[in-house]
Symmetry: C2
Subunit: 524 residues, 2 copies
């Protein structure tokens, strides 16, 4: 998710990068079908047991988020007898889509019931899927239609209040100006010979040709003096309606000072580059389909795990369901709950496991859905989806990627982390709404308040049975320990992957655990 510090994430990932390839084959490296994604996954099959004479085992899965559901789904393909225990009243975990009627009470006692109109929803947790992610394979396999998630939009806005901006600018305008000035500066240095030690004559010619086109620079002077790329008002049209280009651009110093380039690199990142996708109708189409395939009777909601006992010949799990203490015995257990929740549950897996679970940090994350009774961002601003970036405490404002031209729509009014998420999370839901709306009014004016119909907010760190946005500790000793089975208990979740915060991580963790468990069963 966006909130994570990408620099830190990628720096950590970077430890492993580096195996090289020559230019000619480089493209092919990333393109050859066999080289795509992780090592080929082969799901367990009923036929796997024919030769061995063994049978599928009984597995209890703790936590009905994506990792837990995917584990039960994959094991179910080979006939494993799986039971999923989910503490919340609906499966999916952080994959949580809020619709009209959705009710939630947080740890501070705030109860919200969403009043969204029919067809309106917000994906309160994961909301975007990159093309390379295994999540799309599950959408295909499960028959879940997908559509573009609008992660970037040239018509969306940038508003850096702290940098002194007094009005938002569109991404297209900001980009034209930044790239124009960057191009002009580099062309100047190149033409003045400042880079002669780095560039051959041919390099220089090619670079200048590129910069002229890329920066929309003057044909002879390589200067940036504005561009049609900034936009028009009014637009070009019929007869003598030539359109009026927005301009002239602010000075180089003013553009740099506005800090509009701060978020340009977002769209380059491997996880965030467009095109991105979402299930049609809400992200919870994924857990709903998994539950359907697992068999609804096997996923027990409202069941809170109270103890895990590993034995030589099996696992016992105690839990409370509808006020009654129960126990389930199984051959194996997959614990797919968040580490911070698991750390509170009595178990006999030892001090090292307990220390490892407790080591995983908790991230504060918040989101609010603002339902409007008109889609004024489309009609008034011609913004059809995408994200407006701010340096205010709301951080990002998302316009909906579905329901275009419909009667209503739900904006994400904030999606924030750390201190911003703490600040909003401490407020009551009406206070959060008021604060988020006051920020949005600075960008979009009074309709941001007057057209509001309802809202629903989630503070993940204050949400029962989850209590965290995500937990980042990959590549460390606790991470490695919990990625190994502890007796007959396996751990699964995005927090045990290099794709932490992503459903793809939860899916891949499930696949890994399922593969290991299945191989063990076949050998036993």
């Amino acid at each position: 998710m966006r909130g994570i510090s990408r620099r830190d994430f990628l720096s950590a990932v970077g430890v492993a990068g580096g195996a090289g390839a020559m230019f000619a084959t480089m493209g092919a490296l990333g393109l050859a079908p066999t080289a795509m994604g992780a090592p080929a996954y082969v799901p367990p099959r009923p036929s796997d047991f024919r030769l061995t004479g063994r049978a599928a085992a009984k597995v209890v899965v703790l936590g009905g988020g994506i990792a837990g559901l995917a584990s039960a789904y994959e094991l179910g393909k080979a006939g494993y007898d799986c039971t999923v225990l989910e503490a919340r009243d609906i499966a999916g975990g952080r994959n949580f889509t809020v619709r009209g009627g959705t009710r939630q009470t947080d740890l501070d006692g705030n109860t919200q019931v969403a009043r969204f109109a029919d067809g309106e929803y917000m994906n309160a947790g994961p909301a975007r899927i990159a093309q390379w992610m295994v999540t799309l394979d599950y959408c295909r396999e499960l028959g879940i239609p997908i559509e573009v998630f609008t992660n970037e939009n040239a018509s969306a806005l940038i508003y850096n209040e702290q940098a002194g901006m007094t009005a938002p600018v569109r991404y297209r305008t900001a980009k034209a100006d930044m790239y124009g000035y960057v191009g002009e500066l580099l062309a100047k240095a190149t033409n003045q010979g400042a880079l002669d030690g780095d560039l051959t004559a041919v390099d220089k010619e090619r670079l200048l040709t590129f910069l002229q086109d890329w920066g929309s620079l003057g044909k002879t002077d390589y200067r940036y003096t504005g561009s049609f790329r900034r936009g028009f008002s009014p637009d070009p049209g019929a007869a003598d309606q030539t359109g009026t280009a927005l301009g002239p651009p602010p000075s180089l110093s003013d553009v740099f000072a506005s800090n509009v380039g701060r978020t340009f690199s977002f769209e380059f990142e491997y996880q965030y580059a467009m095109l991105m996708f979402q299930p049609v109708g809400g992200m919870d189409r994924i857990p709903a389909a998994l539950v359907r395939e697992i068999g609804p009777g096997r996923v027990r909601t409202g069941c809170v795990v109270t103890g895990i006992t590993n034995r030589d010949d099996g696992v016992s799990v105690t839990y409370i369901c509808e006020g009654v203490q129960r126990r389930i015995d199984a051959d194996y257990c997959i614990s797919a709950m968040p580490p911070n929740i698991t750390a509170r549950i009595p178990h006999n897996l030892g001090a090292d496991v307990q220390a490892a679970l407790a080591a995983f940090p908790v991230e504060k994350v918040g989101k609010i859905g603002l339902e409007y009774r008109s889609r004024w961002w489309e009609t008034d601003y011609r913004i059809y989806g995408g994200i407006t970036e701010t340096d205010m405490d709301v951080e990002h404002i998302w316009y909906p990627s579905h329901g275009y031209h419909g009667p209503r729509g739900v904006l994400i009014g904030y999606y924030n982390t750390k201190e911003d998420a703490v600040a909003y999370g401490q407020l009551t839901p009406p206070q959060r709404e008021a604060r988020a709306v006051a920020q949005g009014v600075k960008i979009h004016g009074s309709k941001y308040r007057t057209e509001l119909a309802s809202s629903f907010s989630v503070a993940w760190h204050r949400t029962p049975h989850i209590e965290s946005g995500w937990s980042i500790l990959f590549g460390t000793q606790p991470y490695e320990l919990l990625n190994r089975p502890q007796g007959r208990v396996y751990f699964a979740g995005d927090w045990l992957t290099w794709l932490v915060t992503w459903q793809a991580g939860a899916f891949d963790s499930a696949r890994r655990v399922v593969t290991e468990l299945h191989q063990r069963v076949l050998k036993t």
Copy 2:
């Protein structure tokens, strides 16, 4: 459309740009709802006639493309008696969606019948709509659902054969390398003081901060040595699956020589920047809705205009329908045919009008739809939509923006203009298919051939009753003359706008002509 030389187009548009605004208000200029788009359009209303006592007139519209249909639709709102004569067997003009069963015979006698499976289609003419375009307003007004048109995709490819590339690279990889080296060069020049005359100390600091993030440069040395933005193979995943970053990058000279930056500016252009949109189900949902609103009996297909006679009290138009010569008399005429077609029809509008019509040039444009029996670009390449750019004669390859994960799909195998369109247009449809497939195989390998199910190609310059992709002559004397009514004959079409090649131009031209005609009727 992409095929048009954007530089030339924008240079022409540029004549009119320039009215300035200060930085603080600049954002607002392009953002204020009242400043959006062209001057507010008010459609004719029945009530307009109440005070004057006059009645709506009878209007014959020549050509059932978007301009003609929109004219009849708008006039119909006030009760005008409109008849649309369309030479082809279906309304829409270049807004032409090919589905299974679509039949077309070109001027060279090639007859094609599309064999696409149910649900598969290609938009052979206009295919994309920018957020600011009036076309979206018509989609909303007419109740046509829209979805994202995937005009750009970081996972799509670049393959510059003429530049010596031996394998395609993904956009994300090419962009990481170009921006990495551009950033490194500018950081170096800046740090060496080469731009001290242009930059204050604060400017320099801000620029370096930007370049480091934007180019993914080293934290202390500002060097580009590769980036996770290039992509991974395999991808990050569970446990010890850290992912392997593609790398190392080719040298600066190799990157520049590959000319991958050639098309980077495409996504900055006002007409092409994402997000873009398309009607769900095919672009012809628009003419279909217009015909429905106009009233099907008023749109007569298969009727070829043979003469236009302007008189003081009306207009007479002769035409051939089902082999029979007919005549229609009306108060006014809107000629919404392509200028090259109109120039061949006898009329009494004078030599100046004839010369002006004949002055409009004809553009050669071709497109082929390649239907595949699997969506291998999604499963094997993880490319979900977008455009692969080449410097080969196919120019662009489009992946479909709909039907993700479906059983089949239609690629646009070429979308080309000028000599490339002529070369393909001269071939028979099977020859076009073979040539396009041979080019695509260089990029995608053998599946580009073996998975092919069928194809359908259009050479617009060889298509009866159209015979041109588009006609660019805006801002000239012939353009100005034909934008004025000639007696009781008005001309309409995208060729009479500063949005030539776009449906938005056709709509805006129709609005303008309808407004002028209506004002004249009210005054008469």
